[in-house]
């Protein structure tokens, strides 16, 4: 009981020592926070960018439509009802009916001024559905399913484009995860080295503590408290800066008309994952970094 209460009485002191250490070694503390901020900013910015790019590719993917041509013998009302069956097919996001008249209007618009198509009549074309899929990687199966619906005469799909989008999405997700992991590991190494440097600065102090019979826990706790505070300070500063930077980028993109095609999500939408990543990394870097860095100076 005595030992426990004595140790509890020490905790306040050790936490105070940790906070005092930040100010005592002001330059090293500042360096550790700056390195944390810089590394987390790089990781955070890249994460935001890849998230937005993957969303854009996903949107772009949805523009790959397939055209379902309806049997020319089917009357208008029956052609309309085929749409219900198409919409029921798995992986179909949306099927929009286009009558032969609408198709002709579009055709003529596309070939305006081309004399070869001047005599084309609505009867020469067929009713059709423009179908958008949820997942282009399942294009082949979906085309097969739609083809079995009575009244469907022909399906026109761009397999190459669909495959291209799937590959792009896969490559992008693998590459972004790989780059983020590498950046995170490099950041952790850099930050850990900065913490080690701060510990090296205090090796004599640690040796004295060991010599007078301080336990490893007593020596470690102030450094871990210090690491925790520095890590969280770095994470908070990096998060704030990331937010400002992101909002500034959105405002700048908004000003340029040609860049409106890049549809970035607002930062508020990224708030929870970003807070989690930054706080987690700050905590990990601060606590684990100081815990492991001090180990080599404890062997006295």
């Amino acid at each position: 009981m005595g030992i426990i209460s004595m140790k509890i009485s020490n905790i306040g002191y050790l936490i105070k020592e940790g906070i005092r250490g930040i100010f005592l070694h002001g330059f090293m503390s500042f360096a550790a926070v700056c390195v944390t901020v810089a590394c987390l900013l790089i990781v955070g910015s890249f994460s935001c960018l890849t998230y937005n790019v993957s969303l854009m590719v996903e949107d772009l993917n949805k523009t790959n439509e397939i055209t379902v041509i309806i049997d020319e013998n089917l009357p208008y009302a029956e052609a309309l009802s085929v749409g219900t069956d198409i919409n029921l097919v798995d992986n179909v996001l949306k099927a929009t009916f286009k009558s032969r008249e609408e198709a002709l209007e579009e055709f003529l618009k596309e070939h305006e001024g081309d004399e070869a198509f001047e005599g084309v009549m609505a009867e020469d074309l067929r009713h059709r559905y423009i179908v958008v899929l949820e997942d282009n990687s399942k294009l082949e199966q979906t085309v097969e399913d739609i083809g079995q619906i009575p009244g469907v005469a022909k399906i026109s799909a761009d397999y190459e484009l669909a495959e291209g989008f799937s590959t792009l999405e896969n490559v992008l997700s693998i590459a972004s995860v790989a780059v983020i992991v590498v950046l995170l590991v490099v950041s952790l190494l850099i930050i850990s080295n900065t913490v080690k440097l701060a510990m090296y600065d205090r090796r004599d102090e640690i040796a004295i503590m060991k010599m007078v019979g301080a336990t490893n826990g007593f020596i470690r706790l102030p450094y871990v408290v210090e690491g925790f505070i520095l890590g969280m300070l770095g994470a908070a500063a990096a998060f704030g800066l990331e937010w400002l930077l992101y909002d500034w980028m959105l405002r700048e993109l908004d000003k340029v008309d040609t860049l409106n095609m890049f549809n970035f999500v607002p930062f508020e939408q990224l708030l929870i994952p970003m807070v989690t990543i930054f706080a987690g990394a700050g905590l990990f870097v601060g606590v684990v970094g100081s815990w492991t860095s001090i180990r080599k100076f404890m062997d006295v």
Binding site: I3, S9, D204, K210
Partner: protein, 229 residues
């Protein structure tokens, strides 16, 4: 009590620092440990404080067997042995009071105990009026007295002083030796490592002489002339 029995210590580079040292220092005794540089004195201190383990033989310090001590027991051994170094080894950014108080905190002492004990020890070494100063603001003699206060504060049964007067002028050296004698008179075992012949002769006590890793003389008959060997 400190007891060495046929202790050898070899370093990985092949140096044999101790070649079979046997000696015993009883509780409450005052002894000088003398010998030329490289004779093995530092190795003996490191064995006593648990920094090193003997290659062979046995070392017993205040109830701990150093040849088989566990790592987690070393802090507790060190609490029974206060060490005073030639270069003081004080924490520069802590005040005089804090340099002493943190040693008590390290063993989990209560704040009330610390507030009572630290001023008492600082008074004992004559630094009670300088408790708010930092080590850099003290003279060499005062810094060494602070180091003694730090070694003393947890009431260790033994104090090892490694060249405690090596950086001090003769007057301050006598002051420090008088202080160590006073502490010894209060019952603390004292082992003083020194090169200074004058000091040993002014304070006639047991002298253990080490040379080339062996005890070459152990007695109350003053400084042993190892230089003339």
């Amino acid at each position: 009590m400190i007891e060495f029995s046929k202790v050898t210590k070899s370093y990985s580079v092949g140096t044999r620092a101790l070649k079979g040292v046997s000696m015993q220092i009883e509780d409450g005794e005052f002894a000088f440990l003398v010998g030329p540089s490289g004779s093995g004195k530092s190795t003996i201190i490191k064995l006593i404080t648990g920094e090193l383990k003997p290659t062979s033989g046995t070392v017993h310090v205040n109830g701990y067997s150093l040849e088989r001590i566990r790592k987690r027991e070393i802090p507790y051994l060190r609490r029974t042995v206060g060490v005073v170094f030639q270069d003081f080894r004080l924490i520069e950014n802590k005040t005089v009071y804090e340099n002493v108080a943190f040693v008590m905190r390290a063993i989990g002492a209560r704040e009330r105990e610390i507030r009572e004990r630290v001023p008492y020890v600082l008074n004992l070494v004559g630094l009670d009026t300088k408790s708010r100063r930092h080590p850099g603001e003290l003279s060499g003699g005062e810094q060494q007295r602070l180091a003694i206060a730090r070694a003393l504060v947890n009431n260790p049964s033994t104090i090892i002083a490694d060249e405690p007067t090596g950086n001090l002028d003769p007057a301050r050296s006598l002051e420090i030796m008088s202080l160590l004698t006073e502490i010894n008179n209060l019952g603390t075992t004292m082992l003083v490592v020194t090169h200074e012949r004058d000091l040993v002769e002014r304070f006639p006590r047991r002298v253990i002489t080490i040379d080339d890793g062996l005890v070459v003389h152990d007695g109350m008959d003053g400084y042993y002339q190892y230089e003339n060997q």
